[in-house]
Symmetry: C2
Subunit: 338 residues, 2 copies
């Protein structure tokens, strides 16, 4: 069991126990990796207000829906989101069957190992890469490939497993909300079938609570055996206005708490903020170049610009990773050697 | 509280208690509305095999996914599915704004009150009616309209509320599976936003566990307020091969138990039957003209033909409503006056 998992597991057990014994809960800090600054106070206050019987803001358990973006909110998305590295590895593996890729962007940049070139192709290029490398496989084949990749793939900037580069404060927050009757969902621009390969193990979020971008699937019988084949067409881009759409299609209730880190999350936070009762919105601001990465308004893939302005205007919570998080990753060292 | 709800609530309470005291559970019949015939025995045996620790077919709780069709499986779909009656009422309400409808099928039949004419337009006609009457509303407006309609709308054949025309044996089955650690989902060709207006109250299935046909939604800001607008385009037809697709998109796990009543459910049952471990498939056969309705191979909207043959061949369970169900509806009388 890796340290992230161990911490999460311990937290889950502690929180489950705490749920049965409120007195013990008060004595223990449910968010030890958060400094005692405004964001932590805002989270604790919100959870108290919506869960305390008799509170004017009380929300019944079934309506306690919390949605989390993934890349940059629950785990690192630099130098590129993990799914892109997965797709790049798939491009390399499939290149012999696609000689035309050496002269076609964004594939040519991938094959040259030119990451800035890949990044310059923007979200459109990323989608082309994902479509070209995911299509034609069955869901089961794809799932197997992702499982295998996730078990050993490492972030090139830190040489740590991608699944170790999750934010410890957010693991604590997920567990804390669940211990208080919340159902936690991931709502991410990432591919839904990619995230489901590790969401339960890493975040404690079961596959049916993961919402993401979806390619079209087709049911087929192959030798009498039913399969679902991934087509090269998009069913849903779960980003920006697509996030409330994905939430409505999948959950059918409005989240009373929403967590993101970029302009791609703005509409999800707006949708949550328009709840009839009390609600909570939070943005993670990547300002910690020393312990992690620093980026915001000018970032090509994960710009935090308009959403930041709206957050300030609407008094949403903005987390400074540098100032508000005591610990960033499950293991104390960063960057760590193998 | 209507009788269906009351029975369901009592069952849920009883089952919750039973889950804590296995000895009491053994003494009480969890499926009292089922006769002691083969289907009931098959259900009890399957649940025992997948839940008993040490059983070679044991399935861990998170993988205990059960999917249920709605129309004809959980509630009555004759003389037409309830959602069609809802849509017909909407056609009549919207007709003054659509003078062309008096000369366009299937709308002309609706306005003439010619139900067989509506039925002759088939699934294509039904979809046109649904698209024309649902599009342009926000999700919130639509939800309000459905709630209001469901509270008072009655099946013209029986004059009972549609929500009272649910199958008591299936309510018991839903509660029994949940008491045994199953997560129960609805997977229906019906509109997802229509079903969610009553699924929790009537079936105990929360909105996030309802999968259905989906129209496209668009996120918009209206006077600064975020809304989701229903467009006249289809996102998913959750019928036939669309059912495994909807299951994969929403749940990401294969159901180990699947329940349906028509050829539209065949692919869902095939998908479930191809599980690696033990699994269970059941079809409800409508052969009880006296207490309900009788129809099968020749029915236009809910044909049970190929799926029936496959069920016999694969030894899936086929329920004869006439022989296998002691009670059909929550109240003993049928048809009942107001």
């Amino acid at each position: 069991m890796n340290p992230a998992l161990k911490s999460a597991a311990v937290l889950i057990v502690l929180n489950a126990a705490a749920a049965c014994t409120p007195a013990a809960s008060a004595a223990r800090d449910p968010l030890p990796s958060w400094n005692d600054t405004a964001p932590k106070k805002a989270i604790l206050s919100f959870v108290d207000r919506v869960t305390r019987p008799g509170s004017p803001d009380f929300v019944p358990v079934p309506a306690r829906i919390a949605t989390f973006d993934n890349d940059g909110t629950l785990w690192v998305e630099k130098p590129l989101p993990a799914e892109l590295f997965f797709a790049l590895d798939r491009v390399k593996a499939l290149a012999p069957q696609h000689p035309e890729w050496t002269a076609t962007e964004p594939f040519a940049s991938v094959l040259r190992g030119d990451l800035p070139g890949v990044e310059r192709s923007g979200k459109k290029g990323m989608l082309e890469i994902v479509a070209a490398t995911h299509a034609g496989m069955t869901s089961a084949e794809f799932n197997g490939t992702v499982h295998e990749w996730v078990a050993s793939a490492r972030n090139p900037a830190t040489e740590r497993l991608f699944t170790q580069m999750v934010y410890q404060p957010m693991l604590e927050l997920l567990a804390y909300l669940r211990a208080n009757g919340f159902k936690t969902f991931i709502v991410s621009g990432g591919g839904v079938e990619f995230m489901r390969a590790f969401s339960e193990r890493v975040y404690g979020v079961p596959p049916e609570q993961v919402i993401g971008s979806e390619g079209k699937l087709e049911f087929q019988l192959r030798d009498g055996k039913p399969v679902l084949v991934k087509l090269a067409a998009v069913q849903l881009i779960d980003d920006k206005g697509g996030k409330p759409v994905g939430i409505q299609n999948h959950i059918g209730r409005r989240p009373i708490a929403a967590f993101g880190n970029s302009d791609g999350d703005l509409e999800m936070l707006q949708w949550s903020a328009a709840s009839e009762g009390a609600s909570f919105q939070l943005l993670v601001h990547h300002d910690d170049a020393k312990r992690a990465f620093a980026y915001d308004r000018d970032d090509k893939l994960a710009r935090l610009d308009v959403a930041w302005d709206v957050a300030v205007l609407r008094h949403w919570t903005v987390v400074s990773m540098k100032n508000d998080w005591a610990t960033i990753f499950p293991a104390a060292r960063f960057p760590a050697a193998r």
